[in-house]
C-alpha cells in the first residue's frame, strides 16, 4: 500500500507542475526550449534524467545481476565521456545556432529541407521505438508494485507523462526532470548501505559475491564468460564494453534527447558546466547502483526476469520508506525519459515536418496548438504499440540509441568541423547510417551471427562515413551554408564573461577531485573486498 501511495503522490506532483507551468508557456520558444533560461542545475537534471530510464534501473541492473557489473561500469567510462566531448565538440555549437530543434539545426547548417526532413524522420522513428521500450518497462514495474494489470499500468503511465508534457512542453519537462533526477539519485545512494547490510554487511557482502558458486566471476572485470554465458571470452567481453561504451558516448554527444538539452541552457558556460556535472553524476550513480546490485545474488540468485532485481530489492530487503523512494525513483527515471522523447517527437512532427512540408510559417499560437495535438496523437500510437508488443526493455533501448550514434554521429561532428560537407553528403550520411543499423540488426534476427567487432552499429557507422565522404563530392556549398557555419564557429561573449569564465575554469578541478574520490571509493568498496575473496 505504501508503494502505491508513494507512486500516486509523485505522479500528482508531476502533473500539478505540468498544469501550473501550462499557464506560464506563452510562446513556442518557451514550449520547445524552455525560453533558453535553464541554469546549471536544471540542465544537469534534464540531461541525466532523460538519459537514465528503465533501461538503466531495470535492463542494465538485470545485466549486472546476471553477472556483468564491472563490464557495465567499463562501458560507463566511455559513455559518460560523451557529455564532455559532446558539449565541447557539438552541443555548444548547436546552442549557438539558436535552433528550436536539432533537425532544424541540420536543415539550417546545410540550407536544405531534405536534410532537415530526414533528421526529423530518424528522430521520430528512433525515439518512438525507445519510448515504447521505456513505457513498457515502467508499466511492468507499476503492474508489479500496484497489482493492477499490465494494460492498466500502461494506461496510467501514458496519462501521467503525456499530460504534463503536452501541457507544459520543455518548461515542465525541465522542472520535472530536475525533481526526478534528485529522486532517483537519492534512491540509488540510500539503497547502497541497506542492500550491502542485507547481503552480510561490509566487506563480507562483496567478498561473498566475489566467491559465489552460482555466479563464478561475478565481480571479475570481465564478468561471467564461457561457452554457455552471454560473453564468450574475457577479451570479447571487453571489446563489447568498449564498443558499446563508445557508441553510447556518441549517443550522449549527439542524440536529440541529450544534445537538445543544451538548446535550453541560459548561456554557453551553463551548457559546459551541466555537461561536466552530468558526467560526474553518471559515473557516481552507476558505481553505487551496480556494486549494490552485484551483492543481491548472495541473498536471492533466482530473480526472474532479472530486470526486476532492483524492484525486488526495494520491496524485500530495504525498509519500506526507502522502498517507496526507490520505486518512485525508478518510475521517475522512466517518466523523465518518456516526457523528453514525447516532447522531441512532437517538436519534430510539428516544426520540422508539418511546417516545412506545407511551406508556411505558423503563428506562435498555431504552432503551440499543433505541437500539443501531434504529441497527443503520437502518445496514443505509442500506447497502443506498447499494448500489442511484448516488453523488451534493454534490447529495444540499445537498438534505438545506436540508430542515432550511426546516423547522426558523423554528420553532427562534421557539421561543425568540416567546410567541405555538402547537403548531398549530409543527407545520405544520415540515411546510410540509419539503414546500416537496421540491416545489421535484421541479419542478427535472420540468424546470422556477426563478430563483436562487426556490430550493427559499426556497419551503420562505416556506411554513414562512406556516404558522407562520397556524397560530399557532389553538390555545391552555398553562401547561406558558409555564413551559418561561420556564425556557429563564432564564440559568444556574455555580458559577464570574465566572471562566467572564472567560474567555468574551476570545473576541471571539480572533475579531478571527483576522480580521486571515485578511485578511493572503488578501491574500498570493490577492489579490497574482492582481494579478500582470493
Amino acid at each position: 500500500m505504501a508503494f502505491i501511495i508513494g507512486i500516486i503522490v509523485s505522479f500528482c506532483v508531476y502533473v500539478s507542475i505540468g498544469i501550473y507551468l501550462f499557464r506560464k508557456v506563452e510562446n513556442s520558444e518557451e514550449y520547445y526550449v524552455s525560453g533558453r533560461s535553464g541554469n546549471t542545475l536544471m540542465i544537469t537534471g534534464t540531461l541525466v534524467a532523460s538519459f537514465l530510464s528503465t533501461v538503466s534501473f531495470m535492463g542494465e541492473a538485470g545485466f549486472s545481476y546476471d553477472g556483468y557489473p564491472i563490464l557495465l561500469l567499463i562501458l560507463v567510462i566511455f559513455n559518460a565521456s560523451g557529455y564532455i566531448l559532446g558539449v565541447f565538440l557539438f552541443g555548444r555549437y548547436l546552442r549557438r545556432s539558436k535552433s528550436l530543434t536539432v533537425p532544424e539545426y541540420f536543415g539550417n547548417r546545410f540550407h536544405s529541407k531534405k536534410v532537415r526532413l530526414v533528421a526529423a524522420i530518424t528522430t521520430i522513428l528512433g525515439l518512438a521505438a525507445y519510448l515504447v521500450a521505456v513505457t513498457q518497462g515502467a508499466a511492468v514495474l507499476l503492474a508489479e508494485v500496484s497489482g493492477v494489470s499490465y494494460s492498466m499500468a500502461l494506461l496510467i503511465m501514458w496519462l501521467v507523462y503525456s499530460s504534463f508534457t503536452i501541457l507544459s512542453g520543455a518548461k515542465g519537462v525541465m522542472v520535472n526532470d530536475t525533481i526526478m533526477f534528485f529522486l532517483f539519485s537519492i534512491a540509488t545512494y540510500l539503497s547502497f548501505p541497506y542492500i550491502i547490510h542485507s547481503a552480510g554487511g561490509f566487506p563480507d557482502a562483496i567478498t561473498k559475491a566475489a566467491n559465489l558458486a552460482a555466479r563464478p566471476d561475478l565481480l571479475s572485470w570481465h564478468g561471467i564468460t564461457g561457452p554457455n554465458a552471454t560473453m564468450g571470452t574475457p577479451w570479447e567481453a571487453l571489446a563489447w564494453a568498449v564498443i558499446m561504451g563508445l557508441v553510447w558516448g556518441a549517443v550522449i554527444a549527439v542524440s536529440p534527447w541529450q544534445s537538445s538539452r543544451y538548446l535550453m541552457a541560459k548561456n554557453e558556460h551553463v551548457a559546459i558546466r551541466s555537461g561536466i556535472w552530468a558526467t560526474i553524476s553518471i559515473i557516481t550513480v552507476y558505481l553505487f547502483l551496480h556494486i549494490s546490485i552485484s551483492t543481491i545474488p548472495t541473498i536471492k540468485a533466482d530473480i526472474a526476469p532479472s530486470e526486476k532485481v532492483f524492484i525486488w530489492a526495494a520491496m524485500n530487503i530495504v525498509p519500506t520508506w526507502l522502498g517507496v523512494i526507490i520505486v518512485s525513483g525508478i518510475m521517475a527515471a522512466a517518466l523523465s525519459s518518456c516526457s523528453s522523447f514525447l516532447q522531441l517527437i512532437g517538436s519534430a512532427i510539428t516544426r520540422d515536418i508539418m511546417e516545412q512540408s506545407r511551406n508556411k510559417q505558423y503563428t506562435d499560437q498555431q504552432l503551440l496548438r499543433a505541437s500539443r495535438i501531434s504529441m497527443l496523437l503520437i502518445s496514443l500510437i505509442i500506447f497502443f504499440i506498447g499494448l500489442l508488443q511484448p516488453p523488451a526493455v534493454m534490447w529495444i533501448g540499445y537498438f534505438a540509441a545506436t540508430l542515432f550514434a550511426a546516423s547522426w554521429g558523423p554528420i553532427a561532428f562534421a557539421s561543425v568541423f568540416s567546410k567541405k560537407i555538402t547537403k548531398v553528403g549530409a543527407f545520405w550520411s544520415i540515411v546510410a547510417g540509419f539503414l546500416g543499423v537496421i540491416i545489421g540488426e535484421s541479419l542478427g534476427k535472420l540468424g546470422v551471427v556477426l563478430p563483436v567487432y562487426f556490430n550493427p552499429i559499426i556497419i551503420g557507422l562505416l556506411l554513414s562515413v562512406s556516404a558522407l565522404i562520397i556524397g560530399s563530392k557532389f553538390g555545391v556549398i552555398t553562401r547561406e551554408e558558409r555564413e551559418f557555419h561561420a556564425r556557429i564557429l563564432q564564440q559568444p561573449i556574455e555580458t559577464d564573461e570574465e566572471k562566467e569564465m572564472s567560474i567555468t575554469r574551476r570545473y576541471p578541478v571539480y572533475l579531478m577531485v571527483s576522480g580521486v574520490m571515485i578511485i578511493i571509493t572503488t578501491l574500498i568498496f570493490y577492489y579490497w573486498p574482492t582481494t579478500l575473496a582470493l
Binding site: 564491472i70 561500469l73 567499463i74 560507463v76 567510462i77 559518460a80 565521456s81 564532455i84 566531448l85 565541447f88 565481480l219 571479475s220 572485470w221 570481465h222 574475457p234 559546459i272 561536466i276 558526467t279 560526474i280 559515473i283 558505481l287 563564432q490 564564440q491 561573449i493 564573461e497 569564465m501 567555468t504 575554469r505 570545473y507 576541471p508 578541478v509 571539480y510 572533475l511 579531478m512 571527483s514 576522480g515 580521486v516 574520490m517 571515485i518 578511485i519 578511493i520 571509493t521 572503488t522 578501491l523 570493490y526 577492489y527 574482492t530
Partner: protein
Amino acid sequence: MGELIFSFGYGGSLIILGWVTHFFLIKMKRNQKEEQERNTIEKVGM
C-alpha cells in the same frame, strides 16, 4: 590485475576528462581574447 586497473581507471577517467576540459577552456579563453581584440580594432576603425 584487471580488477585493480579497473579500480584506478573508473575514477581515473574523470581525471583525464578534467585535463581535457582544462585544455578546451584554455582554447576558449584564447578565442575569447582574439574576439575581444577584433571587436576593439573594429570600433577604433569606425
